[in-house]
Symmetry: C2
Subunit: 322 residues, 2 copies
């Protein structure tokens, strides 16, 4: 991919990042979580968003790290809330240390992400900060909605889309926009770029919902059917649960909570998903957001060749051939 050099630059900067070292026990969980890797999509977006408007990526490497560190802070705290034992195949912080360590190191991580946001960008800081802080709040609201949905049986598809927009997609939009702000892009271009990222995030999340149920176990990184087994209210599930033919939602709910025979549960649920056309609808919705994302990218007032890197990233994220 033509953004491999950006990933290397991010990894190098993360490794060289000097965290105030007053407190070994506060900093170790931060270093640990960041060392577990990940695709570093968000910081790459900041660098690409900056390059799109002829910015030099070195000038926003710290802002790119701010987004990655914030993202990892949210993972550290989400893993507490989800009681998750593993993150990227390794122990979560609250498992390896304890809940207190994950709470406090997460807090520290959020604070450090703001420091990174300021570095080398004092002149633009108010604008960068407004974008970053609003997004930070939205990510919290998204996580709250996700937790609320677990206890609700009447979640609509629109509410679900709003939840994944806030929990996942807005940070992609913010990452891009930070790069654009630092490169003096117009408000209109900033907004198109932000929506490119947000809609790409929505498209990605819906495709992830689809692949969790229908993906190739060889290619999909997680256990196929995992969402079904854990009764997760995905787009597939909610489409089926809100189906007008009432026998379908009734049958779906009868499988809910059932854990005697996971394979039978997966098979029966997939049958209901197909019967309600949830599979096709989920893919179509993902595709629609993908197209909308590209429309926003196309609308940005820079020459088309400069958009190639972001188009490639979009294809890469959605695992497309072109």
């Amino acid at each position: 991919m033509n953004f491999e050099h950006h990933i290397q630059s991010i990894e190098k900067s993360l490794a060289n990042w000097e965290i105030p070292q007053e407190s070994k026990n506060l900093v170790e969980p931060i270093r640990y979580l960041l060392s577990l890797g990940g695709k570093r999509i968000r910081p790459v977006l900041t660098l690409l968003g900056h390059e799109l408007f002829n910015g030099n990526p070195e000038q926003v490497i710290s802002q790119a790290l701010a987004v990655e560190v914030f993202h990892n802070f949210s993972l550290m705290h989400d893993d507490i809330m989800d009681n998750a034992p593993l993150r990227r195949g390794k122990q979560t912080v609250h498992e390896k240390w304890n809940v207190n360590a994950a709470v406090l190191s997460g807090d520290g991580m959020m604070i450090l992400s703001y420091d990174l946001l300021l570095k080398n960008q004092e002149d633009k800081f108010v604008e960068l900060f407004r974008c970053f802080n609003q997004t930070a709040w939205e990510v919290c609201v998204g996580q709250q909605m996700d937790m609320d949905f677990e206890k609700r049986e009447d979640v609509s598809l629109d509410e679900y889309l709003e939840m994944i927009r806030l929990k996942t997609a807005v940070l992609l939009g913010c990452a891009l926009r930070l790069g654009a702000i630092a490169a003096n892009a117009s408000k209109e271009d900033q907004e198109h770029l932000r929506l490119f990222g947000e809609h790409l995030g929505l498209s990605f999340q819906l495709r992830d919902d689809y692949l969790d149920a229908y993906g190739d176990p060889e290619k999909f990184g997680k256990q196929v059917g995992g969402d079904i087994i854990s009764d997760k209210k995905t787009y597939l599930y909610l489409h089926t649960a809100n189906h007008e033919d009432e026998s379908i939602p009734a049958e779906l709910k009868s499988l809910h909570g059932n854990s005697d025979d996971p394979n039978a549960k997966i098979t029966s649920t997939l049958h209901l998903f197909s019967k309600s056309k949830a599979d096709a609808m989920t893919l179509a919705k993902s595709e629609a957001f993908y197209e909308s994302a590209l429309d926003h990218l196309n609308a940005i007032s820079v020459s088309d060749d400069k958009k190639m890197a972001l188009r490639n990233l979009a294809s890469f994220l959605l695992e497309r051939e072109s």
Copy 2:
């Protein structure tokens, strides 16, 4: 007191504070914790720090709230870590809701405190932010040290002073300095004002350690002897534990963990405190910080009559006659 009108102004602003209302479940714990009251010392300090340099307190009311909201965020998360059932005599957030609510609403609270810090002060924001964010990190380091100390038997008095400086005192210094920054005070005056707050905080905390053991149960808000029963490593304890006559530390440690007869434990511990002169030393140390705080206040380049409100606040905090 001559800062009663400031407290009223803070209470009014807190009540009128518009939190983005996308998420009822995220915001309710925030409103709840803030409604439990408290002395609102920190926001008053911001207003007084601003007035000292002829600033109009209305201009920094939002920064004053930022400090109070940040302080309450740290309480919400500290209460999780300390497994505390009560805060200001009412249920803590993690008790009234659950740990997840306290984690996420705390995160949201921290994010909102940054929003408050920006409001009406865009021109000064970088400077305000640097002060606020460095303090935020220090408060986390202080909390980490406090947790680390629970598992250590070799804590020195200097380490203890550094812990309470970070965990408690720096935020008082920051609160004052924010007011001074917004009023265009010189760097030198900012620094004296910050140290006035920090040393006042240290003096207060040491006096609190003393009163927990020797206070009048009628006047002291908490259970007298509470620190002794819970084996807390206060200044009194550490002074005694580090005493050169080795029989004293040995006897103190033999009482550690003992919970059969709380009253006997308190009596025996107080006897050891007195024997090692920990009581007098703690009061003397508190007094020294108080004097140093006043020295820093005196050194500020504004006329003496303008300093009266801060002197009164210092007396009030340390419950002095003059």
